[in-house]
């Protein structure tokens, strides 16, 4: 049993995939920052930002459907922002009775909600494209390049490697539990057990998983030591960034800065 599907990376032949991962990471972060800084109500800028990310999405050959489906993940959180439509602003837009209350939606609140929702949607698309077009080992290189502490990068690498092993273990644990979740022939007994008991069983499974992870980490440590590991984290030097990638980086950053300026300008 394997859970390959957990890995979001989708290998394709596309310029987005081919782009240096360091440049891609920086551009993705810059894009998200631009989105965050773009003022409320600067709709044309949002539209342009959307055009940018959709273009990149098309270029990446991942399929817009795929990207949008993954982007839905952030959707449930939108609920948290819905109330601002009704609590924020002066210009009443619509109102409807709700029992003894009347709920009034304001234009300013709606604008604010829409921009929060848009910001979130645009940002998550950028993150999806980044994760789906860059293999994790490449992302690790990029993290090293932007000076994330080496210890942390090493842990990201190990965690990702063993994620698949341990998630397999977790799935097997759940399978074993399901296989024994039977029901007697006579209908007199209610099956399933109490919720607290079920939670304790799930806890036992978590304990089992942790314990085995502890023991595994010992064996991994021995395997590392056997090959000369001394507590120091070493890695091969990073390769040079090609001139094409530099150009893309410069072009991308300039475009984002322009959009940002444009946003402030329009808004003011």
């Amino acid at each position: 049993m394997h859970i390959h599907f957990l890995d979001p990376f989708r290998p394709r032949l596309s310029p987005v995939h081919a782009l240096d991962p360091r440049v891609k990471l920086v551009l993705a972060l810059a894009y998200i920052l631009t989105v965050a800084l773009t003022p409320v109500g600067a709709w044309p800028v949002y539209f342009l930002l959307l055009a940018v990310i959709l273009s990149v999405g098309i270029l990446s050959a991942l399929g817009l459907g795929f990207i949008q489906r993954r982007a839905l993940l952030a959707l449930p959180f939108m609920l948290a922002a819905v109330p601002i439509i009704f609590t924020n602003g002066e210009t009443a837009l619509f109102s409807f009775p709700l029992g003894t209350w009347t709920l009034t939606g304001y234009a300013e609140g709606l604008a604010r909600f829409a921009s929060v929702a848009l910001k979130s949607w645009l940002s998550v698309q950028a993150a999806v494209v980044l994760a789906s077009s860059t293999s994790f080992p490449d992302l690790l290189q990029a993290m090293r390049a932007i000076r994330i502490p080496r210890l942390l990068v090493a842990m990201f690498g190990l965690m990702w490697r063993y994620l698949f092993v341990l998630v397999d273990e977790a799935l097997r644990l759940m399978r074993a539990r399901a296989a024994r979740s039977g029901q007697g022939a006579e209908a007199v007994h209610r099956s399933g057990g109490s919720m607290a008991w079920q939670a304790r069983v799930a806890g036992g499974m978590a304990g089992n998983l942790f314990l085995r992870a502890f023991e595994r980490s010992d064996r991994i440590y021995m395997a590392m030591v056997a090959r000369g590991y001394d507590g120091e984290i070493r890695s091969l030097p990073l390769s040079a960034i090609g001139s094409g990638s530099w150009l893309t980086l410069a072009g991308g950053l300039i475009l984002l800065i322009l959009l940002l300026l444009f946003g402030f300008l329009l808004w003011g």
């Binding site: 044309p44 993940l73 601002i84 799935l171 978590a206 998983l209 322009l258 003011g268």
Partner: protein
């Protein structure tokens, strides 16, 4: 989706820049201290141990149990990590987990990653450490102390983290304080019970199989008094602040306004620029022109790129 822990990962767009930046700064400092401490405490084993345990937390978040109405309970794991590893290593481990969730699975945003690490990694861990250690001390390392402490630590870590999320949303002006705090607090008071029960189940398993891992008689690691005090302060602060904020939402509204004001002030600085750069062109006209040019460039770029990939494929 097989993997769906408590809804606590804030996506991008839901915090103001100022709040994100402050929480990034706090997180970076605490994480820096934690990384240093961990190197001293665990030595050479730190990398494999924490890396694999981070994977275990992630995998553990998939273990579920049925709750009423087709929903199911899950683990967040901050308390369990703290109990097993001590506060510093737990902070690093939770940072790794939350980081991978954001980077790989888009669970939580990248710009607000600092805030998410702060909520689930730092606050969750500090509060858990404070509760668990206090109970161990109180009970003299007895069974009931471990289990009661574990339960409360897990429950509180969830509730406090949820309140922190609500406060950050309110301060960012993304959600009215009274609603956010009541809703997040209310839901997570229940979700926290699941977390507590699972944590106790895991502790019971480990208590039977490997009592030494629960660090019952282990001397408190260096710097843990600071953590203990930190946990106490955070728990107290949120316990005090949340009801206050939700009964006087205006206060937070005011903060949010100030926050918005800073955003505004910052941007009005830039709005001065264009008039110098492009004298004589009205903003609206400029907007249309620039929009047109950028749009054209984009379409052109896409067409070029698609043609490029086609050529590669057929070659």
């Amino acid at each position: 989706m097989i993997y769906a822990p408590a809804q606590m990962h804030i996506p991008d767009g839901f915090l103001s820049i100022l709040v994100s930046a402050i929480l990034w700064a706090v997180t970076a400092v605490v994480l820096g201290i934690a990384l240093k401490r961990v190197g001293q405490d665990l030595g050479e084993r730190q990398v494999p141990l924490m890396g694999v345990l981070a994977a275990a937390i992630f995998a553990g978040q998939m273990l579920n149990f049925p709750v009423a109405g087709g929903t199911s309970g899950h683990l967040m794991g901050a308390a369990l990590a703290t109990i097993l590893l001590g506060p510093w290593a737990a902070i690093v481990v939770m940072t790794t987990v939350v980081g991978v969730q954001a980077l790989v699975f888009q669970d939580g945003g990248l710009l607000v990653l600092g805030a998410n690490i702060f909520n689930m990694g730092i606050i969750g861990v500090l509060v858990s450490h404070f509760v668990y250690r206090s109970f161990l001390r109180l009970s003299g390392g007895k069974r009931w102390g471990i289990f009661a402490g574990g339960f409360l630590a897990a429950w509180l870590s969830i509730v406090v983290a949820a309140l922190a999320v609500a406060l950050q949303l309110a301060v960012s002006g993304r959600s009215p304080a009274n609603l956010a705090i009541a809703a997040m607090g209310g839901i997570h008071t229940l979700i926290g019970i699941g977390e507590g029960l699972i944590t106790v189940g895991a502790l019971a398993f480990l208590y039977a199989a490997r009592r030494d891992l629960l660090q019952i008689d282990a001397p408190a690691p260096k710097g843990s008094r600071m953590v203990w005090v930190g946990g106490l302060t955070i728990a107290a602060l949120l316990a005090f602040l949340s009801p206050l904020a939700s009964s006087h939402p205006d206060g937070l509204e005011w903060v949010a306004e100030q926050n918005g004001f800073i955003d505004t002030a910052q941007s009005s600085l830039y709005t001065l620029i264009p008039d110098y750069v492009f004298p004589g062109i009205s903003n609206e006209a400029l907007a249309t022109i620039v929009a047109g040019i950028v749009g054209l460039l984009l379409v052109f770029g896409v067409a070029l790129g698609v043609a490029h990939t086609r050529r590669k494929k057929t070659a």
